[in-house]
Symmetry: C2
């Protein structure tokens, strides 16, 4: 298997981009990534996206974007795995290079969730759950996470503000990310006074509905030097790529509070990379809701069951903490354009590993991990990157 | 790159399967393929599907199906490339084995297009076109193909029944396929008297709206013998896998009557397989509309521009003809459950290559090609299989 490296990254700002269509937002990220890698063409484009059919009445999205970007003719396909679509597209791109089918691949994630005339974004997001056994009964995606958070607080006897530190950390980091949707720090008081969305989830526990796109350029590691001469930031190597699933419906799980797919995919990834958990310099978690952060940290082995919330402290997860998480704001503050999120995590990991993360630079960052979750833990991909 | 072989196939009947949901239809095909390969688990499931979000309010489809099939835990992702989704999923599976990431992969294609309460299948199919520049103006998918057929008839001065032979051949072959939606031969008179759908496309030019699923099991060719002992039909090798795109909108093409992506992907495939066009023993074409059959035969090099329709004769394309096409009924008679079609073509090719195609067996079939088209020629994948 050929080793795969990232030699270019690009991202659009995240937000309510009412004056940009999905294809335009994707093109913003792709053209930035192509300029970063100094390429004018590629062999293939894999696009992570969840909701273009449901919200935009547009399937065939990858070919549409290739065409709009002036890449007409190259292979193109869209990959969908709910909110894990971005990392699933990345994994397809990795396989395309690793197999030898291609020598230069663009992976993009894009989602357009706002300004979708006549379409219900909440109903769209519920398509990540089981349509016949969950969504049909009126359970929205926030509601599913609220049930998990309620159960967690009940089992471990916790107050609501046990989760505050995750949100405060995300917003503190997002304040320094020029592409983040929310570039403003919050206080514990802001968290406590935030309106409830679906009890016990409040506005500060939840990532926002937004638009955005991110892209990376993949090449065989043995070719990376061709792209990184001069003042380029340098290449980053994919050390591991792993994917695992769980039951789609939360009610089918033996223990709804344990993310089995996070454990499986992270263990596979550690084995592929040949590293220990303790070797990681940072961890881009899928903090779509604060409860997901706690559950991810537990399943990935950073905390015992019921103790993930204890890590929600600046000295542990802050930029200068033991294991920085959500270093550019995470899903909470940078934003969560669902199919793009997995690629944003990779773009931000590359910034950290190449010393170009600006004010949020993690010192001596050599190995980082990104974990992207689809649905309420049903699909989880873990990637480990290193220099 | 590791060589990849198919060691199991499965398919559901194609039709209006009102008593089966998408996950059930997919499970029918997957369990048949797993039984055929005599396996009880796999490393990954890649699902080709176009319309689950639009028509069924269900994304996250691959994980849902893995879960429903008792494969909970394995990697799963959905691949979308409009009507070429099935072969795009196949290609992902091939890359997963070729790269060495996996040793046993299930590729399934599934579509549920009928009995979708409150959803418009015609509007769903139009999401394969450009939503903002084609579909928004009311152009349905049939209408786009009608414009192409009209132009072709005008440029080459043809009567409507020039295309009849393609439909007659498909129905003749479908009559012997127990899984075909239409198992009845038609006459030239049936064709001529068929009602018009979108002038000049009549009911016999057009493939039907239907439900169905097909699946194949992929393994490294060097492991194939482990699965094919005893009375198994034997393995079939993937000799080539190639994908190419064109402009998404028909109006953007230099020549709307030339399928550039068919030429590109078939040329790539011939080079990969190291064969000539004349080495092919049969060709599974994407006969969603008879005009597409003519254009595919031209772009793939079997006829000159404007002369593809001349091949619509039994002695040329029939089972005992020079180059049999649509050997089990094609999209026209077997049916066209869009995201599943690319996998049906592969399943039927395996039947031919292993001498298990029954009454429609092509004599001495050693090398076959399948071509799957997304949109009006915007995404085209070509696979070549051999024994």
């Amino acid at each position: 298997m050929r080793s795969v490296s990232i030699v270019g990254i690009g991202q659009s700002p995240v937000g309510e981009l009412w004056n940009r269509s999905a294809r335009q937002i994707a093109a913003d990220a792709i053209s930035a990534a192509m300029a970063d890698a100094r390429i004018e063409n590629a062999d293939a484009l894999y696009v992570g996206n969840m909701l273009s059919g449901t919200l935009l009445e547009q399937e065939h999205l990858a070919t549409l974007i290739a065409d709009y970007c002036g890449l007409t003719g190259i292979e193109a396909a869209k990959i969908e795995a709910a909110c894990a679509s971005g990392s699933a597209a990345l994994r397809t791109g990795i396989m395309a290079i690793a197999s030898g089918f291609h020598d230069c691949v663009i992976v993009a994630g894009v989602e357009k969730m706002t300004d979708t005339v006549g379409k219900d974004t909440t109903a769209g997001l519920a398509t990540a759950a089981d349509a016949e056994y969950e969504a049909m009964h009126g359970v929205s995606f926030v509601a599913l996470n609220a049930l998990l958070m309620q159960r967690y607080m009940y089992e471990f006897d916790l107050p609501l503000d046990a989760f505050a530190g995750f949100s405060i950390n995300a917003h503190k980091n997002g304040a320094n990310n020029p592409n983040a949707m929310f570039q403003e720090a919050i206080t514990r008081n802001d968290y406590v006074r935030a309106p409830l969305i679906a009890t016990p989830i409040n506005m500060m526990d939840s990532s926002p509905v937004c638009d955005g796109a991110a892209a990376v350029i993949l090449v065989p590691s043995e070719h990376a030097h061709r792209y990184t001469t001069g003042n380029h930031r340098g290449a980053v190597r994919i050390l591991a790529s792993a994917s695992a699933t769980d039951t789609i419906a939360v009610h089918s799980r033996r223990d709804p509070l344990f993310l089995q797919a996070a454990e499986t995919s992270s263990q596979k990834a550690f084995a592929q990379a040949g590293i220990q958990r303790s070797d990681l310099d940072f961890f881009e978690v899928h903090d779509a809701f604060t409860i997901m952060t706690a559950l991810s940290l537990e399943a990935t082995g950073f905390a015992k069951r019921g103790e993930g919330w204890r890590l929600a402290q600046d000295e542990l997860i802050g930029i200068r903490g033991e294991l920085p998480i959500s270093t550019m704001g995470g899903l909470k503050s940078r934003g969560h354009p669902v199919g793009a999120t997995g690629v944003y995590q990779i773009v931000e990991s590359v910034l950290q590993l190449t010393g170009t993360a600006g004010a949020n630079q993690v010192a001596n960052a050599h190995i980082g991990m990104a974990q992207n979750i689809g649905g309420s833990g049903a699909t989880i991909l873990t990637h480990i990157l290193g220099t």
